[in-house]
Structure formats: C-alpha cells, structure tokens
Amino acid sequence: MAERKHRRVVQQPDHRANRTILVRTLILLAVFGVAVFIPLFVRLWQIQIRDYDRFQELAVEQQTGDSVVAAQRGVIYDRNGEVLAMSATVYNIQLSPKEILACQEAYADDVKNGKEPDYPEPTDEFIASNLAQILGLEEEDILKRLEKTYSMYEIIAQRVDEDTRNEVLAFTTENHITGIFTPPTTMRIYPKGSLAAQVIGWVNPNTENTGAYGIEAQYESVLAGETGRIVTAKNADGTQMLYQYENYYDGMDGCDLELTLDSKIQSFCENILAKGIEQFEVQDGGFCIAMDPNTGEILAWANSPTFDANDPWAVSDPVLLQYLADIESGEYTKEEAYQKALAEGATTEEARDTAISAAESEVLYKQWANRSISSTYEPGSTFKSIVLAAALEEGVVSESSTFYCSGVAQVDGWSGPPIQCSDRDGHGTQTLAKAVANSCNPAFIAIGQALGAEKFYNYLEDFGFLEKTGIDVLGESNINPVSAGLIWDRDKFTNVDLAVASFGQRFQVTPLQLITAAAAVINGGHLMQPYVVSQVTDTDGNVVQHTEPTEVRQVISEQTSERCRTILEGVVNGGTGHNAAVEGYRIGGKTGSSQTLYGSDYTIVSFLGFAPADDPQVIILLAYNSPKPAAPGANTTAGGWYISGGNMAAPMAGELLEDILGYLGVEKTYTASADVLVPNLVGLDLASATASLEKNGLSLRTVGDGAAVTGQIPAAGASIPGGSQVVLYMGEEVPTDQVTVPSVVGLTAAQAEEKLAAQGLYMRATGASDYSSGVVAYEQSVAAGTSVDRGTTVEVRFSDSSASGEGL
C-alpha cells in the first residue's frame, strides 16, 4: 500500500517503466508466442510429410517380425499312386558351446555351494562321447566344436531322423544339459532310390531344398507351394506382440504330382538296361523309354548311368566308377582340364587334381542328365519304320512292290564307294515286307528315291523331327535342329542326303523324337505329345491340372498305320528283330545300329518295339551306347555278342516286352507249340487219358501197368509246351522227389530240351522264332543246380548268335 502511494508520486518514471515492459513483452510475445513455433511446424512437416515414406519404411522394418511358415513340398506319385518322392521332417543337431559352457559353470557353482547334483558333470568329454555314439560321429570333431565357446551355432549333424533326435533329447534331459538343440528341417526322400532318377530329378538341400533336376526342378513352383509369412508387430527385444498387429500371408503346401510313369515298368526298363550293359560290356550307358503309343504317356524312362536320388553326389554306376578310378590312377587324363591348369601355371600335381575334379563333375553331370531328351543320335535303321510309313502313305510303294539288292547301291550324285547293304552278298529280290524285315539299305534307298526329297522332308517335319516334342520335362533343346547342323536344311537336302536319310544315317534326332514319331506310325497315325505329369492335385485333393492326351497332328492314315504294324511285326517274326520274339505275344519292331561321330568302335545298338502288334499297348525304344568290341574294330564283344541292334537290343527288348505285357495283363496267345494246360487224367483208363491228351496236343508215357491212371506228372492245371510228354502212373506211386535243373546255356533248342527231359523237366523256348543250329540258349529261367518238382517247366531264352550284318 505504501508502494502504491509511492508509485503515484513518481508517476512519470512509472509510466515509462510500464511502457518499456509493454513493448518488451510484445517483443517476447512475437518471439516466443509465434516465431519459435514456426521452425517446429516446419520441422514436423519435414519429418511427417516430406520424409514420411522413408521413416515409415524404416520404422515398419524394425517393428515387424517376419516369420516364415514353411510349405510342405508336394509328393510325386507314379500312375498307381506309388510314392516316388516325398518330404519328411528331419532334424539338425545344433550345439551352442556358449550355453553348454554356462551349463558347466552352473554345475560347478552348485558343487561349490555344496549342492551335489545327482547327475554326472556335463564335461566336454562326456557330451562329446555320448553324442558321438548316438550320431555316429568322431568324438574328436565334436570336442573341437565344443571348444568354440564363443559360438552359439554349431551344427554337428544334419538331417537325422526322429529316432536319433529323440535319443539326443533323452540324453540332454537325463543329464540336465542345456545348449543342445534339434531344429527341424525337411528332407526329400526318394523311396525308390534311383528309380527314374533323371526324370524325377532331385532336390538340392544346399539351395534351400529347391528342385535341381527333372520334374523336381520343372515343377518347382507347383511342388514347393508358397511359403507363408506371418508379419507380426514385435518390440525392440524382438518379442512378438500377437495382440498388437498381425498379418497372415497364407502359405500353401505344394501340390502333389501324379506321373504317367509306372514304377513297375520303370524298374523293368532299368533292369533290362543294366542287364544289357553288363552283358554287352556297354561303355557309355543307354536309355530305355516305354510309352503308351495311343496317348503319349511315358510309362517308363530309364537312363544309364544312374544314381540314387537320395544322395545325388554319390557315384554308384560301375562304368563311371571305373572311369574315375582310371583318371585317378592316371590311365586316362582329363587332357583338356589338365593342359589348361598347366597353362595357368599349376604344377603337374595340381593340374592332375584339377583334371580329377573336372572328371568328377563330368561324371556327376553325366549321371544327373536325362540324356534321352537332351542328346541326339543317329537313329539308324530304326528310322526305316518312319520311311516305310511315309512311303506307304504316299502310295509310292505297296506290299506288292519288289526291291532288288545286290549288296551295294548306287546313288546319283554320290561319287564315293557304293553304299553297302548289311548283307554284302545282297538280299536279292525281296518284297516290301521282306526288305523291311531284312533292314535292307539298297531297298530303302530305292523307297526314299521313290518318295522324293520334297515329300521325304515333309514327313521329317510331320513326324516332328524338326520341332520339340513338347514334353513337360526339362531338357529339350530349344535349338532348331537345322541350325544346329543336326538335320539338313530343306533347301540343301540333296539326293545323296535323301539316300542316307532313307536308312536313318547322317542326321540326328533325340530318342524322344524317334519314339514319339514311331508311336505315330503304329497307333493309327496320330503324333501325340508325350507327357510325364498326368495330374496336379492340391493338398485338399482338388485336381489343379489334368493332362489330357494331346494330338499334335495326324501324320498318316489309320490304314497305313495298320499296314506298317503288319510289316514291322514281320521284322520280329523272322526278320532282323527275331531275337525279340516272345512266344505267345505279337511283337513288332525295328532294330537299329547307329554309327556315331565318336569313332568306329562306338555303336549305338537299339531296338524300337511295340506290342501287341495288332493293338499296340506299349512302345519301347531301348538303346545301348557303345558295347565294347573285343578288340578295336572287332564286330563282337569279348563275350561273343555280335554288336548290332538285332543281336543285343532285340533280345533284351523281347524280354522287356514280355515283362511289360505280362504286367499289363495282356494274355499270351499260343500257336501250335504254345503251352497247353494239362488236363486231369487221374481215374481215367488209358484210352480215355490218351484221347484227352491228344486233344491237347500232348504225348504220353506210362509207368506201371494198372488199369486206371493213379497219378500224373505234371499235375493237372500245369502249363507245358505243346507236344510235351505227360507221364501217367498206372497204379504206381507218383515220385515226389525233386530233381536238379541242369544247365542248358550254350545248347541248341533240341539239345536243351533233351537234357531237361532227361530230368523230367519241360522246356519252354523263347527269344527266337526258329531254332536252327545257330540259335543257342543263353539264359534259363530256373538257375542250374536248383531243385524243383518233377514236371516243372523251365523257360529257356535263345538267341541267334550267328553274325548279322551292319544296319540291323
């Protein structure tokens, strides 16, 4: 109050002081009430609007956890639902030496504090020895890993099964060990191992289980499914906050594939391939394709060398192993790699290592590759079936046409030595069917000439040799065969080219092209698109994709096709393919021996076969690459096999077709010498028994002199070759002892039958259509030395070992 009075007295300065405060407060207002807020607004605008995207992205990146939901890879089935490839959960065994150390320290602390744990001390040695025992590892190696106590992630074993994992877990829980983990992972399992390995392909665990070859690679996206993601909010510690924010990106398990392959037929093919490779000392593997000619479905697709898809890096093929051994022992060198390494300054030792590893990868690629789709070869005489079809369709030849073969043929425009026929003496005059059966080159040159280059080339195109087959398997080359120099350019297709093309030489096709074209020849003229994947189904069983047979085009008429079948049946029935004959089945086909660019001793012997000839259910193409001649330039192998399609591929093909047809349930139809069923004769008198047997084309022998038949060998219902002798026991006891099967290999049919009959056994001869002196047994269905019942029928396979000409 006193102040107020006082202030009134000195009002002038008061007034000035008030003014100062007013002015200065207004200045402060302008600064702190307005000005300072402006930069703040600007700054907020910059961060929240201008740089929004950047900060938003960075923030979301750190705020969200992205966890992966692995999709189950689809299963691959064969046509009968047999599993060819599947995925299973397996486990890695992971150590965290850091945590194990902590666990050991905790144990030590307990001991120090007087707590005596009732379990053993988790020493490194204790853990290592136990794990080594469970996992089958070296204790040393585990100890080394355990020493890395800074590490938290040491995988000591990969892809162990659940049992092993449980053992590991039991060990850790029992002994209170922390720091051993068993994270699950998946593994691809191929239950049938090497079966169709090149077609199915395999999954590479080193590339996150993606398909590396074959169907596995081709259908990678379908099989793999979609990996799901769960995006969740997480806090700075990485803990997921599910309640906060969560987004599912649905994963989808992979679809299952059903293949057209038939495991059974596939294994027939693989077995016959392996058998021939061993028997004929085949140097460079081979292939065998079986197809349903009516649909283009691939029933089997075997390649050799092959491998176990469960362990694609292992080499198991004997030929490849031999090659590797030779390289390592220095017998061969990978010359190119060796020289290159030398040029790069490597020592001879290093260069040798380089060469060896080059050989190893060469071998791996060789066994992984599906060669019958990616590589080409000269089809040789098998191609004559195509030429035949074209000529018949065009009407330039007919069944009544005749061809003369003098052993050589002259071609206009060819100035070199005349083209020789396989039969140097000439086949003489032959009908069309006989010319095909003889695989006569001069005759086919004449057929080709009759057709003319223009039409011939048209058929090359129509049968699909200038395009991809369009099969749904990786590996078909995109390269145009003309520009690749495999097939002549139409404009440059000369008369000489036409002549050699007529018997399948000097041009290259893929095995798949050939079998597809050949299928068109015999199936009524329909060029089908071959396929392997018949159906794709999702995890709920819905059919996602179903492949229907696709006809590319009709190449020849039904009638022409039928005529071709008849003529080609003649090849097996008495022609160059007679070794493929199977008693009871009507088989058609064409042999082939292809020359190659790899040298005169590298021959591809092949057989193109189909059955039954009147209504083909299956067509096969079987080839062996390079049977080893006994000596350079020799015509036969060390085992005495004449190197030709007719002598090597045909008998194998016959055996294979018999297996396949039997499996497919195609009934055998027997002619005169065919098997007959033994009727029940017990109780009959001799006269009626004799009559009954005669009716069935069987002869008889009696033992004892009773009035009625008391026993018989073979028993009623047995199937024995027609004309065989049945033993009737008239009041005598039927012997029940067993007899030993003799070896008949190397004998002629007559000798073999006699030898077997001496033991009370019957022989069923197969593999040849006539059993002249040149035909000898090479195999018997019951091994020599086996004890069998009397009256058992032994199947004996014969082969014509007499020399046959080139080009068969």
Binding site: R7, I21, L28, I47, Q48, L58, Q63, N235
Partner: protein, 390 residues
C-alpha cells in the same frame, strides 16, 4: 479495494488452455507409458494413475495458488530464493540426492511423492525474486557512495551505464549456475537463465547487457564443450552414425514422428513405444504424440501451446502492476522455451538436452510445480483491472 481486485475472475482462456493441455498430457502419458509399465512388470496403468493423481493434485494446487494474492510473492520471493539455493546446495550432499549410476545429482527423493528437482523450485524462485526486485527498479535508491570514496568514480560510471544495478542479479545467477554445474544440470541451468533473462529483458535492462551476457554464455559453452557435449553435436548432425552414443533415441524419435504421417496411427497405437523409443512417456513423449495423432494432432497441440504462451503475454501486458507483468512474462517465457527446446530436441532440430515437455512429460512433482506456476499466472490474471479489459 485490493481484496476485491484479488477476487476478480481468473482468466478463463488461460485456465481452459492449461486444463486442456494437462488433460491431453495425462492421456498421452497413459498411451505412451503402458508399454513401458508392462515391460517393467508393473500394472500398465501405473504411470497413468500416478500422473493422473498428480495432475488432479496439481490442478488443485493451481487453484489454491490462483486464489493467493500474488503481492505476497513479493516478500515470499526472497525466502523462495534462499530456499532454492539451500536446496541446490543440499542436492549436492551425498545421501540427500538420489543415487544414480551416472552420478548425476539432480533429484531429491520426497517420500510419497517420488523425486523432484530443486532446479524446478529455483526456476520459480529466480523469476519471482527478479520480478519483485525489478518491478521496483525505477524507484530503487541509487547507490550513492561518498564523493570522497576512491571508488565513487568507478561506481558512478557503472551506474550510468546500467551495470551496477545488474550486480545482484548477476551474483545470484552466477551462484545458481555454479551450484547447478556441480550436479551437473545444463538444461536446467539454461531454463533458469532463460526465465531470468526474460524478466530482465522485459524490465527494460539495456539490450547490450543481453548481448554481452549471451556472448559470455556462448564463450563459456565453447569452453565447457568437452567430449561429452561435442558428441551431442555429432549425434545431432548424424544420429545414424552414432547409434551407440545416443543416436538411438533420436533415431527412434524420428521413426516415431515420421511414421505418424499426416493423420497418425491413432491414439494408443504407437508401435515405437514398445521398447524402441527409450522412456517414451518422458522427454520424448511428443514423438509418441506425433506418431499416434499425426501432423494434425501435433499441430493442434503446438497451437494450444502457442495460444497459452500468447495468452500468458496478454495477461502480462494487462497485469495490474509491473511485478505481476514481470512474473507472468517470466513464467510464460519459461514455459515457451521449455516447449520449444523439448520439441526441437525430439525433432532433432537441436542437439539433445534433457528438457521435459510441460503438461505432457511424466513426472509428478514437475507437473505440480508447472501447474503451480500456472496458478501464479492465474492469480495475476485475477487482478487485471476491469478498465484494462477492453
């Protein structure tokens, strides 16, 4: 008459702004703190309830203070200043300040209330004392030494250039700066200096002394800019290169603000509060505000602050006397500076200083003191002469 004046109406706009900001602040503390509370193993509403209680108590205190005739602060200010200085000394004594691993001695524990900073008291005390003394500036008796005194010439010169009257203020500030540098507490010192400077400035102290003071301060800052401080500058320039040295917090703050965008993620939906942004309920609460409410929400709050500040100055201009005016100028400026520095730090406009956001940052005693200061402003507003209210 005076009694009547003191019973005038409070300035409603100012009151409403304070209540509004306090309300929003408490809500934002809830939103920003529940993750922290949860991860600390507390009840998610722990911080919210405490802050809410303090806000209610603070508003009550504000009301009580607003009812006090602010003229009593004239004489109270001396004791307030003495108390503040004693507290600043006390806080340096081991056993009184709270024990912290970083050995910073800023807080005194009060049983039941938590902790408080003596510097908060010092802020108000300095403003009060300076206002009180400066309001009587023109009536102050000049120091007149005997003409025979050997110092009379020097004193005369000093008096004429206006330095002499600054000596007591300077000494007080030097003492406080010295004491606080022992804590150390640079941001608090800065705020006290800002409040004091505002009062001195408004009171009409010649500008050259501010220029001199500012340059002296700048020189001092350069001098003390040792490793610790210069790192702050480096972090400020490029927080991404110094994640381990304090950059983390500012990066997370920028992420929070940035990801808010124009409209924000929505109240309560901040993601950065989940352990990314350290102490989101505290100095960096505005980053969470920006993240949840977007540029729009942040701008609204800034505008509310600006309006509060402007209304504060309006009250100062219309205050009944110079003491009231200077008091309000000091408190208003202090609040404005705090808001500016806090948001400038959060948006990485300036290097980090530990300044909390008035009404928002979690801290019970600070909020209560803040609201008490607002009570002082309201108290001044109640004595605005009706004639002046045009």
């Amino acid at each position: 008459m005076e009694e009547q004046l003191a019973r005038g109406p409070m300035d409603l706009p100012f009151l409403m702004l304070v209540v509004l900001l306090t309300g929003i602040g408490v809500i934002m503390v809830f939103s920003a703190s529940y993750a922290t509370a949860y991860y600390e193993g507390r009840d998610p509403t722990f911080y919210f309830f405490r802050q809410g209680l303090f806000a209610v108590a603070g508003l009550a205190i504000m009301y009580v203070v607003s009812k006090i005739n602010y003229q009593t602060f004239r004489w109270l200010s001396v004791f307030a200043l003495i108390l503040a200085i004693l507290l600043l000394i006390a806080v340096l004594i081991p056993g009184i300040h709270t024990d912290r691993s970083d050995n910073v001695k800023r807080w005194i524990a009060v049983p039941g209330l938590g902790t408080f900073q003596p510097s908060e008291i010092a802020k108000v005390a300095v403003i009060m004392y300076f206002s009180s003394r400066l309001s009587k500036r023109n009536t102050e008796k000049p120091v007149r030494l005997s003409p025979r005194s050997p110092l009379s010439g020097v004193v005369g010169v000093l008096d004429r250039i206006g330095l002499l009257e600054l000596v007591p203020y300077g000494l007080i500030l030097l003492l406080i700066v010295f004491l606080m540098s022992r804590e150390p507490h640079m941001s608090g010192t800065l705020l006290i200096l800002a409040g004091a400077a505002a009062v001195l400035f408004a009171a009409g102290i010649k500008l050259r002394w501010f220029a001199l003071g500012a340059s002296a301060l700048a020189g001092l800052l350069l001098l003390v800019m040792q490793d610790y401080q210069s790192t702050r500058i480096l972090v400020w320039q490029d927080p991404w290169s110094y994640k381990q040295d304090g950059g983390w917090q500012i990066i997370q703050s920028l992420y929070a603000i940035g990801s808010g965008g124009l409209l924000g993620l929505g109240l309560g939906k901040s993601r950065q509060k989940f352990l990314y942004l350290p102490e989101p309920e505290n100095d960096f609460i505005f980053a969470i505000v920006c993240e949840e409410l977007g540029l729009i929400g942040a701008a609204v709050i800034l505008i509310l602050f600006a309006l509060l500040v402007i209304r504060g100055y309006w009250i100062a201009i219309h205050a009944r006397d110079r003491f009231g005016a200077l008091l309000v100028v000091g408190i208003t400026t202090l609040t404005a500076v705090q808001v500016f520095l806090n948001i400038a730090v959060v948006t990485n406009l300036i290097p980090t200083t530990g300044i909390s956001l008035p009404f928002f940052s979690y801290g019970g005693t600070a909020l209560m003191i803040q609201l008490a200061e607002m009570g002082v402003v309201l108290s001044v507003s109640r004595q605005i002469p009706p004639t002046k209210q045009e």
